[in-house]
């Protein structure tokens, strides 16, 4: 089972990883795994487990282009992020890193700390009480990039960009 971490709307990248905790500022860049939500939600990094899911309000990831924000989330093994609207740069960065992002508003369906199972293939969430939620299927090009494990393996495999006709 994966734990749900619930966040509000307009979570910005300074809340995900403040600029003061950027790899640029660190002696050892692997420290980054300790810093997601270091100030906004200090209980997150010590308790998050691989496969856990972030459920957030609209405009998740607004602000800076810093790829180390989604990178920090990948380092702790985030399984998926579900929000009704993603900020554009964050969405690209997360896609490039192979983090599945689903566009849906589940902030009223799920509560913080809920235990759920997410099947990425079918986009089906099953809660611990057996309730089933279907996520809208992402466009094909997104699923292709996830399947490859991110944009770099995608590009190396296909020699082209997503959406481009082979």
């Amino acid at each position: 089972m994966a734990r749900v971490w619930l966040f509000g709307p307009d979570i910005n990248t300074d809340q995900i990883v403040p600029g003061r905790y950027a790899p640029y500022m660190l002696k050892d860049e692997s420290e980054l795994r300790r810093y997601p939500f270091i100030e906004h939600r200090p209980d997150f990094a010590p308790n998050v487990r691989p496969g856990d899911i972030i459920v957030a309000g609209k405009n998740f990831g607004c602000g800076s282009s810093r790829e180390y924000a989604p990178l920090a989330l990948r380092m702790v093994g985030i399984g998926a992020i579900i929000a009704p609207l993603f900020a554009r740069i964050f969405f690209r960065n997360a896609l490039n890193l192979g983090i599945p992002c689903f566009t849906a508003d589940l902030t009223h369906e799920l509560a913080d700390g809920d235990e759920v199972e997410l099947d990425l293939e079918s986009g089906r969430i099953t809660t611990s009480t057996g309730r089933v939620i279907h996520l809208p299927p992402p466009p094909l090009f997104l699923r292709e990039v996830w399947a490859a494990g991110g944009i770099v393996p995608f590009y190396r495999q296909y020699g082209r960009f997503p959406g481009e006709v082979a």
Partner: protein, 416 residues
């Protein structure tokens, strides 16, 4: 008929494209800054396996995010970036003190009308000030562009912010941009481009205020038609009377009051007159949004012959060396110093909360920059208010958020 984004992206895609199309496009210029350069270099060589950037002439590297270096770590990483630039034969390195990437690339003539410009910085929408399609991307996208000279993107729909009339005294481009953020909100232009119409009276750097703040509404690009600018480029985009827009927002400049973005969201904008008495510890004038020569000149006009309120610190960090030189040459700098302000090395300064004016818990800062997110400039317990350079100068005189019209023309100053 096409929007400016459609005109530019059709050129770089090599075929006519419309909003909603997903295109692979040739990139005209890639900007890399020190903060993300080490990760970009690593991805380029180690993950993508590329040995060289596709065209060193079309790459600009700027050391602005921690300039000068603030620690051994940042100094070492800057050293690594300089070595890499030499090894790659990249002619355009703008090192410590030259300024923030966005004004520097415009001053150097590298950013031109009609270009597609990618930057490793979200405020790369700035290049819209010369009629370019500038957009910010993360390390992996930038590394891919450096390796291939290409990127992929969805052609955005366009939202027009149409200004009418002229600014009143003490009101300017920052107030227009914050007003737009108040109307469109932080996500109102997500996945779209903003076109700023009716602002041909503004200088290039004043237009940059509008272009940089476009990202704070979520925009992919923020383009000002290059009307009235004597600039050449691969394409001079124009406003077409028949272009299809997603939305048009009208703003009457003559009715506009000084706008303030209150903590901790950029779109939390109110008329300054609707705020109560807000005491301020620090006034910070700088950034790619409002650290330009014009911004220092507006502040100097208000501060001339006066002194900062007791207990207020005023930090001015020019956006570029050229802006600083111009301010030094015409007395603007001397006026700011005589009033009690201090000057930092041109660059990003404390905008990212790393050095040169980091805030303590409980401190209140009046900031001419573009983000007031919690913790942005240092302590998450600090408060950041965004406003124009005119409001910044008026506030420095009184020690609390002040309408510039209240202290202009020899009006007596009541400080705290």
């Amino acid at each position: 008929m096409p929007t400016m984004s459609e005109q530019i992206l059709s050129r770089v895609a090599g075929r006519p494209v419309r909003a909603g199309d997903v295109v692979t496009a040739n990139v005209d210029l890639v900007m890399v800054h020190d903060s993300l350069a080490p990760s970009i270099i690593r991805i380029l060589h180690q993950e993508l396996g590329a040995e060289r950037v596709w065209d060193p002439q079309r790459v600009a590297v700027v050391i602005d995010h921690v300039a000068p270096a603030a620690s051994v770590q940042t100094a070492e990483k800057q050293q690594e970036v300089r070595r890499w630039v030499r090894a790659q034969g990249i002619p355009n390195l703008f090192d410590v003190g030259r300024g923030i990437s966005h004004p520097v690339l415009v001053e150097e003539g590298l950013a031109q009308p009609g270009m597609l410009i990618l930057g490793s910085d979200s405020h790369s929408t700035a290049y819209g000030c010369v009629g370019a399609f500038g957009t910010g991307m993360g390390s992996t996208d930038i590394a891919l562009a450096l390796a291939t000279g290409k990127t992929w993107l969805r052609v955005p729909e366009t939202i027009v912010v149409r200004a009418r009339g002229t600014f009143g005294f003490g009101v300017g481009p920052k107030d227009l941009a914050l007003r737009a953020a108040r109307l469109l909100r932080a996500d109102g232009a997500t996945y779209a481009a903003i076109e700023w119409h009716g602002v041909e009276q503004l200088s290039v750097m004043e237009r940059m205020t509008l272009a940089t703040l476009s990202i704070e509404m979520g925009a992919k690009a923020g383009i000002v038609p290059p009307t009235g600018l004597d600039l050449s480029g691969p394409l001079v985009p124009t406003v077409d009377a028949d272009a299809q827009y997603q939305e048009v927002v009208e703003i009457d400049l003559s009715q506009l009051e000084p706008q303030v973005s209150a903590p901790h969201y950029v779109d939390n904008v109110v008329d300054l007159s609707d705020l109560g008495r807000v005491a301020v510890d620090v006034v910070y004038l700088g950034t790619c949004t409002n650290g330009h020569y014009e911004d220092m000149a507006v502040a100097a006009q208000i501060l001339a012959g006066r002194r900062l309120a007791p207990g207020v610190r005023m930090i001015v960090v020019p956006a570029s060396a050229q802006a600083l030189q111009r301010a030094a040459a015409d007395g603007t700098l001397a006026t700011l110093l005589a009033a009690g302000a201090t000057i930092g090395t041109p660059g990003c300064g404390a905008c990212i909360g790393r050095h040169m004016g980091v805030l303590a818990p409980g401190e209140v800062c009046l900031f001419t920059g573009n983000r007031n997110f919690r913790g942005r400039m240092g302590s998450p317990e600090a408060q950041i208010y965004l406003a124009s350079p005119a409001v910044a100068a008026a506030t420095a005189l009184t020690g609390y958020l002040t309408d510039p019209r209240a202290v202009m023309d020899g009006q007596p100053v009541e400080s705290r």
